[in-house]
Amino acid sequence: MNVQEAVKRVEIAAKRPRADVRDGSKVAVGKVTRQGDVYLMRTDRAPTRGDEIALSVGVIGRQIVPGTTPGSRHVVVGDAVAHRAADVGAVTTQIAAHAKQHGCKASVREEMLYGAIEVGPSGASLTHPEHAHVRLPPDSCWIAWSQYDESTQRRVAD
């Protein structure tokens, strides 16, 4: 396979998107669901709360990713509290511990972290104008972080 063929294969697959809602209840504790460049790891206990993420102007819900472009509109809607982690070091340790439970490794950098989402008894969703939504089951906790961009040595921007 050459470069053109490999890229063509990706382009063909991209033309068959699956936009149906991803069901977060299928994700076990310590496992991850991804929405675009945002990763959500389900966790059994919420990290220590930092600043609460405020309701954003122009969107219904709490936008966990900073920014005003359509690409940054990863918004938690429903019965949930979203907050920045008070102790990012503890959160990365928590991610590594969960990964270890599944026999995997994790090295999430502190600057990649967005914070945590604590879902209430009525459940919530992580929405986005273009990516598939993720249904977050009631009374679940999630840690959110972003992809890392190697060329800029910082988390991905969109």
Partner: protein, 460 residues
């Protein structure tokens, strides 16, 4: 009270209701005097409903860009005035001045640019006309007459051109000197007489300033997407209005005072459905003002002391999914010349659309935003990008998780590596920068995700 349930009769009206409010959000009609009068009345009613004293000023501006700066500067001036009452600053005039200065900076530049474009075209047209005329005469009247005619035309043309060139040069020279002088003079006045004189000077000098003030560019990423012709002058303008960094900060945070007007039609569509279609037994008197403003105006800033309202855009283009989109120009532009560019929902800097021929591999590598990088590669053409970047295939595989798909790890001529993949839900192909030492797609994904990809069960 009985709980409302959507009836089939009401449900049948939903499509028409939706279309009506989408049309309102997409409106490019300029505001009329009737609209302005209705808006003034609605604003007063809205302040009364919020139990606030009426605003001292209701000001109309041509675009959200002017709204943001004029509103921010005016808020800064009112804030400073509140903090320093003893200096008896005339804030009433200040609001007007801030609006005027910001509007003037934007519209004057837009007018200049438009005039220049128009006259350049006219000149080109005239030259073409003269050439054609000369050639035709030469053919009809024989060579001698033609030469005489041509000489006369050329002489007249050269004289006219020389005069015009001299005039323009002189004007530019005078303007530059005047600007420099005015600025120096204004600064001296600031020191001597305080803010009131600054405002007066600001009206004259600040708007013509062409110095290296890019303060706002440095403070806000958003500005790279906007073409707002007076943008580079706003820092200087803030200084001359006496609000400095506070004014710029207020402009940056103007969203705190922001209401979307017709751009936020979605909210109004939802609530007014229950008012007009479901006809719930609720007192909508206070709500009515909001609804009027959504129908009759663009975004607005509501401040305890003033309210500023923007006009609707002159052009607004979207794709089949109603996302901001235009492949060959701004997707949205206002009557003062400000505009924004977007490709299928992604804001992009203007040059990518206006000069796609300038997109090169180096520019793509330097771009830090992956969505813009994706658009640049699309514009350049994937095949051309891969050829010019000298890419080779390092690895290719396929993810089997929910939403997963095929991927390819590519290495370009300078050794940088890119993971090419899709996200499983948006039809897009991304090129993500990954470490140069990874040898498989899996390792590349682990490096940018920070976790072993076996942990990722769903993608979208």
């Amino acid at each position: 009270m009985k709980k409302y349930k959507l009836t089939s009769e009401h449900r049948a009206q939903l499509p028409a209701w939706r279309d009506k409010w989408i049309a309102n959000a997409m409106s490019t009609e300029p505001m009329t005097e009737d609209d302005r009068e209705a808006c003034r009345d609605a604003v007063l009613r809205m302040y009364a409903a919020a139990k606030l004293p009426p605003p001292k000023h209701i000001v109309f501006v041509p675009s959200p860009f002017v709204l943001r700066f004029a509103g921010g500067f005016a808020a800064g001036i009112w804030h400073l005035a509140g903090a320093q009452k003893s200096r008896s600053v005339d804030v009433t005039a200040a609001t007007r001045d801030a609006t005027y200065a910001a509007t003037y900076a934007a519209t004057r530049d837009a007018t200049d640019a438009a005039t220049y474009d128009a006259t350049r075209d006219a000149r080109r047209h005239a030259r073409r006309h003269v050439r054609r005329h000369v050639r035709r005469h030469a053919r009809c009247d024989g060579r001698r007459n033609g030469r005489r005619h041509a000489r006369r035309h050329v002489r007249r043309h050269v004289r006219r051109h020389a005069r015009r060139h001299a005039r323009r040069h002189a004007r530019r020279h005078v303007r530059r000197h005047a600007r420099r002088h005015a600025r120096r003079h204004a600064r001296r006045h600031v020191r001597r007489h305080g803010r009131r004189h600054v405002r007066r000077r600001a009206r004259r000098a600040a708007t013509r300033d062409a110095t290296d003030v890019a303060a706002y560019d440095a403070t806000d990423d958003e500005s790279r997407y906007y073409v707002f012709r007076g943008l580079h002058r706003m820092g200087e303008l803030a200084n001359l209005l006496g609000v400095g960094q506070i004014g710029l900060d207020c402009a940056k945070n103007a969203w705190r005072m922001w209401s979307g007007g017709n751009q936020w039609s979605g909210w109004t569509a939802s609530i007014s459905f229950f008012r007009h279609i479901a006809q719930l037994d609720i007192d909508y008197t206070a709500w009515d003002a909001w609804e009027v403003l959504t129908r009759r105006s663009g975004p607005r800033i509501m401040h305890p002391d003033f309210c500023m309202i923007s006009d609707r855009p002159a052009r607004l283009m979207v794709d089949d999914q109603n996302r901001p989109h235009c492949d060959d120009g701004p997707f949205c532009s206002w009557r003062d010349g400000s505009m924004i560019y977007a490709v299928r929902g992604q804001y992009v800097p203007a040059w990518i659309i206006e000069h796609p021929d300038r997109i090169a591999v180096a520019e793509i590598r330097a771009e830090t935003n992956i969505e813009i990088r994706r658009v640049m590669i699309e514009k350049m053409g994937t095949g051309r990008y891969l050829t010019e970047s000298g890419a080779t295939l390092v690895d290719a595989d396929e993810r089997t998780s929910e939403g997963g798909g095929p991927r390819a790890l590519l290495r370009d001529s300078d050794g940088s590596q890119w993971l090419c993949g899709t996200d499983g839900s948006t039809s897009r192909v991304y090129y993500m920068s990954v470490p140069n030492d990874v040898m498989t797609c899996r390792d590349a994904h682990c490096a940018i995700a920070g976790i072993d990809e076996d942990l990722v069960e769903q993608e979208g």
